[in-house]
Symmetry: C2
Subunit: 202 residues, 2 copies
């Protein structure tokens, strides 16, 4: 049984959050409902994400079940607000002491840095914010990897990269054959368009 807890806050980036959520919960489904995944927020009010979607958290910071995996997504809310919110950074620091894995997506790495778990580590973040993160000191930003594993800290590049890192994690936890089954369920066989420069046909 793996208990996943995903931190949410105003101006969290939607796909940073929902990419890994989908991977973790699909993993649990394939494992017969063995695992749990919950959203944890500072307050019980609806969260307004960075692009306007409103989601409801399942628990507050001071009342949630024990977690095996703590995931911190990115978004404008991390860099501009939450890195200076000691209620959130203290909670991350305390919670990370007891989880097997500490995970961030995109600029969630700034929160892991402010709270402590990313200090002295090799980490990934969104390409646009790599210089900013390195300027914080006590961290090595890896610029050429989709995601980075350093000890029990798993960080990934921007937004969509959380899908790849979460798939890696469920494979690390429950086997790579299982991760492949999750990938098949998600039909994750990416085909980004417009990679070629070809004549317009319409």
């Amino acid at each position: 049984m793996t208990a996943y807890g995903l931190l949410v806050f105003d101006d969290v980036e939607e796909l940073d959050l929902v990419g890994p959520w989908e991977v973790f919960t699909a993993s649990s489904m394939i494992r017969g409902g063995a695992d749990t995944a919950v959203l944890v927020a500072e307050r019980p009010d609806p969260i307004r994400c960075g692009k306007g979607m409103r989601v409801l958290a399942d628990h507050t910071l001071d009342d949630h079940p024990p977690l095996d995996v703590l995931l911190v997504p990115g978004g404008r809310g991390t860099r501009e607000i939450e890195v200076r919110n000691p209620v959130v950074t203290d909670w991350i620091a305390r919670t990370a002491e007891h989880t097997f894995w500490v995970v961030s997506v995109c600029t969630g790495a700034f929160l892991l840095h402010a709270a402590g778990p990313a200090r002295g580590r090799r980490v990934a973040t969104h390409w646009r914010h790599e210089d900013d993160l390195e300027a914080q000191g006590e961290v090595t930003v890896v610029r050429d990897a989709r995601y980075v594993v350093d000890g029990n800290v798993l960080t990934s590049q921007g937004v969509s990269a959380g899908i790849d890192s979460a798939l890696w994690l469920v494979g690390r936890l429950h086997g790579r054959e299982h991760a492949r089954a999750v990938r098949r369920y998600l039909q994750y066989e990416p085909a980004p368009p417009y990679l070629a420069d070809e004549p317009h046909t319409t």
Copy 2:
């Protein structure tokens, strides 16, 4: 200005919904906030998605702004409930008459079929449900394409495929250079893990 409307319902699959949502809203951000994206539901209560995330819709079926793009995500709720819910299928049929594009992700194709827009079309759906959809009749299921464009109907394969089809659509609407900028913002350079069979190192 493009007005995106995404239908939500209980047991909608989270990533089916949020992949395109992220693409559409990032596209709008890059275009200086030119566009709008809203979630539309039958009732104003919170939606419980298929894997347990709760989201709030912005509008109800009988009170929403005009839409240019209608997107219907998939999930257990489509096949088991909403295809037999005339309130939803009638709304899709009426709304699709006035939108420029009608889009589905995953098993959302079943709803487009039940409502009419997918009848007589070539469509894509989740690999596990291709036979079921074809058995409905009056539809050609394309099994070897990530997404399918037939007239103004854009359908995609399972769950994660909505990211690719939504990127195609914003390129079709606003130019492929723009779609590339959206892809760059999302750092959508997928790297699925466990594609190789190699020795375990841990």
